[in-house]
């Protein structure tokens, strides 16, 4: 086996065992989407409502599941110096960061489908465009993981990473068009919505589930990809500048 692939796989495996599959994280990452799901579903009675709310719950699960993880897998490891060991290993920084983020991406994707599983008990999920939905979920998971990465490498303390990510997360949740449609947002806030990657991701999810969309899907995909690449490059640049000083 290629040594790069081996290193990639083992870093991923170590993170899975050390962080993702640990009870506190399972409770945060799995129970959180479950409770959101239940809360929304119990409040809304009819089929239409559950399906209307589903893309939103999915997007939230991904966003919170991914961004919160990076403060542990990166900021915390940096603080405890074990991250240095990875920086000193012979694999390239890009591969290393990919290995460190793959776990969060997978975790985000799994989190996204927990609400879907729940919804399937209550409503008929026929009519959903699964391929499109899955691609949307993957792209949201990738961009929000890399957003978390960007935050994690820009700070020194775990609590800073958490505070800083809320600074992004909450405005994104309210302005991404999931709970208040983009068309109904106050005019002054709308440009802000279009700055957030989640807006484009949410639009893809909404179209896959309910066939409503405000943005062209090709545009949405392109913008999400651009965000992903951009955030990743800025993050690795930051590591080179701040941590390989």
């Amino acid at each position: 086996m290629n040594y790069r692939l081996m290193a990639y796989g083992n870093i991923l495996k170590k993170d899975m065992q050390n962080y993702y599959l640990k009870p506190p994280n399972l409770s945060w990452g799995i129970i959180f989407p479950i409770s959101w799901t239940l809360m929304f579903f119990l409040r809304s009675g009819s089929d239409v409502d559950i399906k209307a709310i589903l893309p939103g719950v999915m997007a939230l699960s991904i966003l919170f599941g991914t961004t919160s993880m990076l403060s542990v897998t990166i900021t915390f490891e940096r603080k405890s110096r074990s991250f240095e060991r990875l920086l000193l290993s012979p694999i390239s920084l890009n591969l290393l960061m990919l290995a460190k983020t793959t776990g969060a991406i997978i975790f985000g994707i799994i989190n996204a489908f927990i609400p879907v599983l729940f919804a399937s008990f209550f409503v008929d999920l026929g009519g959903i465009q699964w391929t499109l939905l899955f691609s949307g979920v993957v792209l949201i998971a990738v961009t929000s993981t890399f957003l978390g990465l960007f935050i994690a490498v820009s700070v020194n303390e775990v609590f800073e990473a958490q505070t800083f990510s809320n600074f992004f997360r909450f405005p994104m949740v309210f302005l991404c068009g999931l709970f208040i449609p983009l068309e109904q947002l106050p005019r002054v806030l709308r440009p802000l919505s279009y700055l957030f990657p989640l807006t484009y991701g949410a639009d893809i999810l909404k179209f896959s589930v309910n066939h409503q969309a405000s943005i062209n899907r090709i545009v949405s995909f392109a913008i999400l990809l651009l965000y992903a690449v951009g955030l990743f490059l800025v993050s690795t640049h930051n590591i080179k500048k701040r941590w390989i000083y």
Partner: protein
């Protein structure tokens, strides 16, 4: 062959110059030590050599590679033991070793075998399944060294391998370093313990305030030291006036140490004792003991670095 060759290496942190243009080389198969006080720039130099810090200026050649541009190639053949453990707290000793090996492309079976073998070698096999955070300081250091050599590196960097651990663990670690070196690993270590340098290193570089002030073979440093004759007097009491008078009367001889109870004098020639005894008795200072001190590297170190610090001070004052 020079396996490491460094020229005009500098590291600035903003206005502060931590390393001020150093030149040195490390011979293949030798143990080379950087000896210097706190803040001398030892760790900063190791960080530049291993790829954790980017030099401000200068060049590094390691095993035929450019140590700056081709650092990833260099990192395949070097092992690094930092001054503080950087393993994973929640993983066991064994898991830590197996994981570290996987970063260097060692196959699963091989790395498990190697991890068990190293735990045994470092007498950690009883505790291999305990989480790293439950290890004592000495055990942590040993495991960190084991992690540093799991991929059989050609060159091993050790930053203060014996600082902060008990005598027995330090002894084990020195034995380890020597046997690694006997098996052909080139060693670069830093320390501020003279005994370590004396016992382990083939050559020593003295580093003070970001400058290398001397690089020399340990043997010839010791011989140089041995040429010094040092005598120490233990006296009942000396008051300040007598001390001053003593220094004035014997201004031909070096007095590396003087206090109210000891006087240490040193010279390149044999020291005649009578004049000193007479001086002390005539000043009512009872001499309790006069003994010959075997010069060690410590004397050389103080000598070399002391002179340098004085010179640096003068330079600074000169600037003002």
């Amino acid at each position: 062959m020079h396996i490491i060759e460094v020229t005009q290496l500098q590291k600035h942190f903003g206005d502060f110059k931590a390393v001020k243009g150093i030149d040195f080389f490390v011979e293949q198969d030798e143990v080379f030590g950087f000896l210097g006080p706190n803040g001398a720039g030892k760790t900063t130099t190791i960080n530049m050599l291993t790829g954790l810090a980017r030099p401000t200026a200068g060049t590094i050649q390691i095993a035929g590679h450019d140590g700056i541009r081709e650092i990833k190639k260099v990192q395949r053949i070097i092992g690094i033991v930092p001054d503080e453990s950087n393993l994973y707290d929640d993983m066991s000793g064994y898991e830590n070793l197996v994981f570290c090996a996987s970063l260097y492309g060692i196959k699963k079976q091989e790395r498990e075998k190697r991890a068990r073998q190293l735990l045994k070698q470092f007498t950690l096999d009883d505790t291999g399944s305990r989480p790293f955070k439950a290890y004592s300081k000495g055990m942590k250091r040993k495991l960190t060294i084991a992690a540093g050599i799991i991929h059989n590196p050609t060159i091993l960097f050790l930053d203060e391998p014996t600082t902060g651990i008990d005598v027995e663990s330090a002894r084990q670690i020195r034995t380890m370093i020597r046997s690694l070196n006997n098996q052909g690993t080139t060693i670069f270590l830093t320390t501020h313990y003279i005994e370590d340098a004396e016992r382990l290193c083939d050559r020593i570089g003295f580093i003070v305030e970001g400058r290398i002030i001397k690089v020399e073979e340990t043997q010839s440093l010791l011989q140089e030291a041995q040429r010094e004759h040092i005598v120490e007097f233990k006296v009942e009491h000396l008051d300040e006036g007598v001390i001053q008078e003593f220094l004035q009367s014997f201004n031909q001889i070096q007095v590396p140490r003087i206090s109210d109870q000891t006087i240490r004098i040193s010279s390149g020639r044999p020291i005649e004792l009578m004049p000193y005894m007479e001086f002390l008795t005539s000043h009512n200072s009872k001499v309790l003991e006069a003994k010959l001190v075997h010069p060690s590297l410590e004397e050389v170190f103080v000598h070399i670095t002391g002179v340098e610090i004085d010179r640096l001070k003068k330079e600074k004052e000169g600037k003002k």
